[in-house]
């Protein structure tokens, strides 16, 4: 046992919902999170106790791949149509950023670019790295990987920014024939991408980063 004991070594288990420290009376085998025979409930809040989030790798991979599949049409298809008397202008996420840069404010363009492009791409890369390295029980840069996960959790939901912009403009710009804004399918795919990446990062269990053969302490 090391100087920093882990819950499993002490036969303890933390409730994922209320944080209560419980004695793992069911033993490790039944609480390995494979969904078979997991029957111990938290005495305080009634949530199911599991040593690790159930099927973390599989679920996270599945959600991440689904999110990526949604992300392609989200970028290729236009997200918003601006129609006025004599022209129709369809915007994709990227062209929206470019337009904002040119006509409005470069600062805001950078923020929108970060929320709509950088954050989703960061999430795909970060979760991909976290999943592959943890599946191989790699001891590489554990502390940095743990930090990376927390950053992903923290910034994830800001991607919804563009969805809200399109929704607000749709409700605002309705001057009959003079000028109208309509949402286009891209924005639906983008909204789904954000929800799926959020679900993906929630289903990843950061404790898996520290599991494995070569403990570093």
């Amino acid at each position: 046992m090391s100087a920093l004991p882990r819950a499993a070594e002490l036969g303890l288990i933390a409730c994922p919902v209320c944080g209560l420290v419980c004695r793992n009376v069911a033993g490790d085998r039944q609480l390995d999170g494979d969904g078979v025979g997991d029957a111990m409930a938290c005495p305080r809040c009634g949530s199911l106790l599991r040593r690790r989030k159930s099927n973390s790798f599989m679920r996270t991979w599945a959600l991440l791949i689904a999110a990526f599949l949604m992300y392609i049409p989200a970028n290729v298809l236009p997200i918003m149509r601006t129609a006025s008397l004599n022209d129709i202008d369809d915007n994709t996420i990227i062209s929206g950023v470019v337009e904002l840069w040119r006509a409005g404010s470069p600062y805001l363009a950078v923020i929108v670019f970060s929320a709509s492009i950088v954050v989703p791409v960061l999430k795909f890369l970060a979760l991909g790295i976290l999943l592959t390295s943890s599946q191989r029980s790699s001891a590489w840069a554990r502390l940095q990987r743990a930090r990376l996960y927390r950053v992903v959790e923290l910034v994830g939901y800001w991607s919804m920014l563009d969805v809200f912009v399109v929704a607000l403009l749709t409700a605002l710009v309705r001057f009959s024939v003079l000028s109208r804004v309509e949402p286009l399918p891209g924005v639906i795919f983008f909204g789904l991408t954000v929800v799926l990446t959020m679900l993906a990062s929630m289903s990843f269990d950061p404790r898996l980063i520290w599991d494995g053969r070569n403990s570093d302490d």
């Binding site: 882990r6 111990m40 305080r44 800001w158 809200f164």
Partner: protein, 215 residues
């Protein structure tokens, strides 16, 4: 699954206050009282374990009630109005939700309604209910169920993102239209401020602060 009432047959409960397990790496710590403004961090993964509660139950309740009032205003008042050659067009949050539904983006409409209206409202009402009883050192009826729901609602409220979105929409619209900021946008800004204050509060403290004995 054992319901909590039966679970108190000491299935595996240790003394809840002496130990603490890092959620991010499963390291076990012995709890110690924290000084004012102190934050306990995990020695292995550096994640935050626990922080000193600056806000009393009364202060939290005051904040929640303020947020609730501001939230009602943010939803009643129009957010922005655009003007184009004598015509004006404004919207409230529900105007946004309805417009997206009518424009065949129902998925987005539901997302907006959930993350900007229903979830924040549920969160505030549920917390307010729990805190009113917590003032008297009691657990509110439905305490356990509400605390579990609050845990899952956590990351799904996005009012602060919407404020930034409104700012971007205003700048975009400004190129073609006259933009008039309405009271709703200020109410939203105030709401974001209140959310930021509340962001540092770990609601799990309520489990320990109000022991079950009273219920």
């Amino acid at each position: 699954m054992v319901p909590p009432e039966q679970g108190i047959g000491r299935t595996g409960m240790t003394s809840p206050n002496t130990l603490l397990i890092c959620e991010h790496c499963d390291t076990v710590y012995r709890r110690r009282p924290l000084g004012r403004g102190e934050v306990a961090r995990c020695a292995r993964c550096h994640a935050e374990l626990e922080r000193h509660h600056l806000l009393s139950v009364n202060a939290m309740l005051a904040l929640i009630l303020t947020a609730l009032i501001v939230f009602v205003q943010a939803n009643m008042w129009p957010i922005v109005t655009l003007g184009l050659s004598g015509q004006f067009s404004g919207t409230t949050l529900w105007g946004v939700i309805i417009a997206m539904w009518r424009e065949h983006a129902q998925v987005v409409s539901v997302l907006v309604a959930a993350t900007l209206f229903f979830f924040p409202l549920m969160k505030m009402l549920m917390l307010g209910w729990l805190l009113v009883f917590a003032r008297g050192g009691r657990r509110a009826p439905g305490f356990v169920r509400l605390m579990v729901i609050l845990h899952y609602l956590g990351p799904w409220t996005m009012s602060e993102v919407f404020v930034l979105g409104a700012l971007v929409a205003i700048v975009k619209a400004h190129v073609y239209f006259d933009v008039i900021a309405n009271p709703g946008i200020y109410a939203y800004a105030a709401l974001t401020f209140l959310i930021t204050i509340f962001a540092g509060v770990d609601l799990r403290q309520l489990w320990d602060d109000i022991p079950e004995a009273g219920a």
